[in-house]
Symmetry: C2
Subunit: 397 residues, 2 copies
């Protein structure tokens, strides 16, 4: 993934966005989801209430709340504040809509030249992650007067922008995976009889939070979900930590979402406390084999359905196919789950260099009292693939 | 807050909802936000993709994803699953809309008798908190064919249901505050020179997570944001933890959101490392006085603006009013920030028994290198108020 960036030439991401606008006959795009801002401008909002006008041919304008931190706003954006958080302003969004309208008038852009992603499904969390983003009811309607009518084909083309990560983005996702592995180290260190699932998860999240201020990290948060023994047999349906205490021979599964500076890693590990009980040892070995088979198959030009089948056939060969209840993977990086095609049965979409996917087969067998899933983040390269989430020096994958 | 519940009589919450439906000429309400489900049925969703039909005169129906955990669904709900999470189903929401429609037909309810809260602004997080809820684009439009036209007055009446907490809900919020105080204990224990803001925050969140499985707690998560020294002077605008290491004499502020079983506490403490530097000691003392003055004034019948003024006048008397940049409080309990009137200048709405509000004045003075805020959760009672967030035995408020 070598890239050479010429001074003054657009970055690979800027070029992707420029092509998208051109192909869709647009002169600007208005973005507000945290991951859209990150992708279009490199900026991760704190409150989640920042808005970007990304012009095809002019400097982008970023509207931020008056009370937004400014120290991580990248260069190359014209920043305007609006009175969100001002005690004296009862309706900051009206001020914002008016200011956005003024910018578009100055740029002489009529509504049909300006695109936007309506709705608010499955959004990444901003830095302030304890509450979903307070975009008010009806705000999309206010903005819609300034933008083109929603168009399914255009929305789909915008979602495609998530699929091909640039070299710079890959480095950021690599860092998220490195931090996630610090959390996984805490998982393996704590894998002892008597400790509770919640205690392990707490230790993992804590280790991830404490990475702040290392290697340029200003935001680091993990969501660890640990399921042990019989609870691991539920991990094909949901992931949560309970107070159950680990016992020797248990399988223990950790699902771990990690966000570092806005970029996401999505990992799963399953390991035994001591030696796995005989009934579950086979499950773990089989899932390892299935995952490796799928990873080995990842390369540009193969279909998502083919990769899924590589894992699924391994599990079927041992008679456990009915216990592998979910897809084999999904795109990842701008969110815990990026949009785009799934790595799932029958999906004909093909892998391309720059795509970042999870490979996460599993088998969850209640009658044996255990389940396993192993998940890595895999980059499709020109020459094959690279597993970003396995760290040198760590044998505990 | 003594209540006696007669067998067979509706709970106080059920009575509130019944009155709301009657006054708004409705026979049913469709809810899906995590906090709406919690309020209407006592159920906190795991994925956030559960839907409730709350009938005025019949058993409520809860639609849950096929892969939703079932062990915390309360009695008294008819549970139906829909194929969200089923690998073989590409459009579970169409199945869901059809099933909701069938229920409404069986109940002989035309759309104008069925209400719903459209939009998706400022929603509480479900148990799975690493990603906002994946309600698809356009789903509200699909549901809108089954429900009455949005009506601002009716939406406002629904939002009013958040305001008056029942005895049972107060107990749940009390528990959230007890757990939050376990986190605060970790904050005070770690308040030493040399430790980083992020390290303290990680310890606090970890202590909160580890409360799972005690006292009926199945979900416990904290979001701790620690700001020290000069960073504490930013805490009127945003709260985040950095790698800054504490120094003797610093003011250190922790903003802490805590969710226990779906009920929320929102607390802030400010304390000094060792003895506060002289320039900032006055700020902390003043904020303490202002907060206590406001809390002392809380009682049924007084206006929110009056409470705000009690705090604001104390701070103005010391010439620091321009450094108290935000409101004095807000409703809390079903979310980190409940809807409803603010405790802010000029607000004429009056406090009533059962309301739960925050009291959180602050002063943030960059030129002195520090800021302070102290925030408690205060219940309005028949005879005055109760501070739910100060624990017996803890002197460190």
């Amino acid at each position: 993934m070598e890239t050479s960036i010429l001074i003054g030439s657009p970055s690979p991401r800027a070029q992707q966005v420029r092509n998208f606008l051109k192909q869709n006959n647009l002169q600007a795009w208005i973005a507000w989801r945290p991951e859209e801002l990150l992708m279009l401008s490199g900026y991760l909002p704190f409150w989640g209430a920042s808005f970007l006008i990304h012009f095809a041919d002019a400097e982008p304008v970023l509207f931020v709340p008056q009370i937004e931190p400014r120290d991580h706003i990248p260069a190359g954006l014209r920043v305007q504040e609006y009175p969100w958080g001002d005690l004296k302003c009862s309706d900051p969004y009206s001020v914002l809509v008016s200011a956005i309208g003024t910018e578009l008038v100055h740029a002489r852009l009529s509504a049909e030249k300006v695109g936007m992603n309506p709705g608010s499904s499955r959004i990444a969390l901003p830095i302030q992650a304890a509450e979903q983003i307070p975009i008010p009811e009806g705000f999309a309607e206010q903005l819609s007067a300034l933008t083109a009518k929603p168009d399914a084909q255009r929305q789909s083309a915008f979602a495609d922008l998530y699929l091909r990560k640039t070299a710079e983005e890959i480095q950021a996702i690599r860092l998220a995976n490195r931090v996630a592995n610090v959390g996984l180290d805490a998982f393996f260190e704590n894998l002892q009889p008597g400790i509770s699932e919640a205690d392990i998860a707490a230790a993992v999240e804590s280790a991830i939070y404490r990475q702040i201020d290392r290697d340029g990290i200003f935001h680091s948060r993990g969501w660890a979900m640990v399921q042990s023994g019989p609870n691991s047999a539920d991990a094909g349906r949901f992931n949560r930590s309970t107070g159950r205490r680990l016992e020797n021979g248990d399988l223990v599964l950790i699902e771990l979402a990690t966000c570092v500076n806005g970029y996401w890693s999505d990992l799963t590990r399953t390991a035994a406390v001591g030696s796995a009980r005989a009934e579950v040892a086979q499950i773990l070995g089989l899932v390892r084999d299935a995952q490796q088979a799928a990873i080995d198959g990842v390369s540009a030009g193969v279909s998502a359905g083919y990769i899924d089948a590589l894992a699924r056939e391994k599990i079927a060969a041992q008679g456990l196919s009915s216990f592998f209840t979910h897809h084999t993977g999904h795109h990842v990086g701008f969110r815990y789950h990026d949009p785009g095609f799934l790595i799932a049965p029958g999906v004909s979409a093909k892998l391309e260099p720059g795509m970042m996917i999870t490979i996460e087969p599993g088998a969850y067998v209640p009658e044996r009292g255990g389940g396993a899933r192993i998940e890595d983040n895999v980059l499709v390269t020109e020459s094959g693939h690279e597993v970003l989430s396995r760290m040198e020096g760590s044998k505990r994958t």
